[in-house]
Amino acid sequence: MKKNLLTAILTGTMLAGMLAGCGGGSDDTKSDGDSSNADGKTVVTLWHSNVSPEVEPFEEMLAEFNEQSKDVYVETEWVAREEQTKQLTIGNMAGELPDMVYVDNPEVISYGEMGVFQDIKELYDAWDENQLLESIINSSCYDGKMYGIPYSCNNLELFYNVDMFEEAELEPPATWDELVSCAEALTKDGVYGMAFSAIKNAECTFQFMPFLWSAEGDWTSMDSEESIKAMTYYSDFVQKKLANKEVLNWSQADVCKQFGSGNCAMMINGSWNVGTLRNDYSDLNFGVVDIPIDKVNASCLGGESICITKDGNAEACMEFIEYFVGKDISGDYTKSISKFSPRSDVDNDELYGDDPVMKTFADALSFTYPRGPYPKWTEVDNAIIEACQASLTSEKTPEQACKDAAATISEIQASLDE
């Protein structure tokens, strides 16, 4: 009896294994067919990391493109954002790259200089609808070369819980001092006044930069008085318990959840969260203002570019990019995902005229700056993240953290000069 059971299990698992072998094999051959599909269209693959609620408009747009294009068919593969840089690096080593990739803008140059992406400057110049904003295009350009075309951009602002502010009879803050006094007044009964993301990845730097720039500090001078002041101000939210120490673990999506659940009264976050809050927390009464300032207004540029990989079919890819970033699609598409078009001929005033919240974000684009562009941004990014986390956890004083970051960054620069 027992022996029969064992035999049955082993036989069953072996059968399953054989099926598995077949399944794996057939998938493999399917993916190797690189050039064309049954309709005779050229097939190109695109890696993206869109998630709901952004993935639905994306799929719709893609289906429309594939429908109307005579020559090109775009296949997609979803790659988790965190995994993407790794997949790119390894894929580059193994020659297993897709034709196109969505890449977070500060990383475009790093991979471009690494030789992963093509220089598409000529193709871009030849495109008749290439009216993109210079400031945004710059994030994908280095040394006269162009490694990607931005398709959407976004920035950060301060979200506040209108009901909490009304109850406490407060006005939304405009300066650093006002921000702290609002946070102090609203931190009670387990609710924290302030929240931001300081997770150990690019989101931490992204959210710290507005503070750094507002004090007129910069990543190139992390040990300056201004930079240290910004770091001190930023880490004091946690030191004074005006922000939950869990910000060290929170991604921007987590911060949005906390805000949506009423666990914090204010948060720094990006425009795409407007969509999430409206969908998932329809009862929440929230407003958006410019990030309070020390000396100057500043926000940080987010968004992704489409890059064509070194062996990608550039012409076929460009047809898709020209459609996707072109005049007819770009404005409405980016609006549907609560982000902004990089096109200079898209009128955001008109597009967001009826939406004061999104309008605030759109207006802030005039003082939104990119990280870099710098060929070793990933390393600089790590140095800044380390400084932020070290100050937030009190492992180092803000001053020491900034000085260490400055030393690391100058080493990175030195290695680049070699």
């Binding site: 027992k2 022996k3 064992l6 299990i9 698992t13 072996m14 399953a16 294994g17 099926l19 598995a20 072998g21 399944g23 794996g24 094999g25 998938d27 493999d28 993916s31 890696w47 990391s49 998630v51 709901s52 993935v55 639905e56 593969e77 979803w78 790659v79 988790a80 954002r81 965190e82 995994e83 790794k86 997949q87 390894i90 894929g91 080593m93 193994a94 020659g95 297993e96 387990g190 673990n249 929170w250 991604s251 921007q252 999506a253 987590d254 911060v255 949005c256 959840k257 906390q258 659940s261 666990n263 998932d280």
Partner: protein, 284 residues
């Protein structure tokens, strides 16, 4: 005689009570994952945790099974996990049972270096072999297939199974086998027909462990496969976190589904695993 029986009985009850208390404390995290997976967003993020969900939210499961989030395609990933774990288990059993037997039964020259090799291979952290393996698999053209994670996870379970089985085969009385040899079996058939059935409790343990290693793998699958329809459950949960932040209720629901087949398998095979060789040989 009667009194002895009563003592025996009350001792049994006392031990059982203690055992239940141990189990309740020890398995609390398992209770917690289950309970949290049934809570609403608001309840999970509330500052005071509840011991029982105010309302049972099965949609945490349903939405994921129906792939409403469009990232982690749970049914597909469940199948992928099954394929990888089963393949890895079969491969490692076929290779490691004979090896574990051979190394304990025969006094072959070079036994020590061979044992050392298995020991050493088992000690390797995944990050040590990740890059080289990727390059090998790339040359062999088996990236983006089930085979790559199956081969890689088998490298974890093979040495483990050998080390688990070695003491069992060592303790196994060879006289039984010799009797079979006298009866006209050759060495290999004696191994298959006599030794293996006697040691089956150990083999089932080995099978269970190698299945688990395959099922639980994260790093190999996400490194060797970048096609979403080949990724297993463990990567699904990871991607979900990446995409939507720490939605604990959803993550815990995903975790429960990830564990489910292993728990079913283990409960079904539990007595084989805990039985042990010596008892089986004496009784059987």
């Amino acid at each position: 005689m009667r009194r002895l029986f009563r003592n025996e009985c009350s001792r049994d009850i006392a031990y059982t009570i203690i055992a239940v208390i141990i189990a309740v404390v020890f398995l609390f995290p398992v209770y917690w994952i289950l309970i949290s997976s049934l809570k609403s967003d608001q309840e999970i993020f509330s500052r005071v945790q509840t011991w029982w969900p105010k309302k049972i939210h099965l949609e945490n499961y349903i939405n994921q099974i129906l792939n409403k989030t469009k990232t982690a395609n749970l049914p597909v990933q469940f199948r992928n996990s099954g394929i990888i774990a089963t393949g890895s288990m079969i491969l490692s059993l076929i290779l490691s049972i004979p090896a574990g037997y051979g190394i304990s039964r025969f006094n072959i020259p070079g036994k020590k270096p061979i044992l050392l090799t298995f020991l050493v291979t088992q000690m390797l952290p995944a990050s040590l072999i990740l890059t080289p393996l990727f390059l090998i698999f790339s040359k062999a053209g088996i990236l983006n297939s089930y085979l790559a994670p199956i081969l890689a996870t088998a490298t974890i379970s093979i040495p483990f199974v050998i080390m688990v089985l070695r003491p069992i085969f060592l303790a196994y009385p060879h006289e039984i086998e010799e009797a079979a040899l006298i009866d006209g079996c050759n060495q290999f058939t004696a191994f298959l027909k006599v030794t293996l059935p006697v040691c089956k409790s150990g083999i089932i343990t080995a099978a269970a462990f190698s299945f688990i290693y395959g099922w639980n793998d994260l790093i190999y699958s996400i490194t060797f496969n970048n096609k979403a329809d080949l990724l297993p459950m463990t990567s699904g949960i990871y991607q979900f976190m990446d995409a939507y932040g720490t939605q604990w209720n959803m993550i815990m629901a995903y975790g429960v589904i990830t564990e489910l087949p292993i728990i079913v398998l283990f409960v079904a095979l539990q007595k084989h695993i805990v039985g042990g060789l010596a008892g089986g040989a004496v009784k059987g």
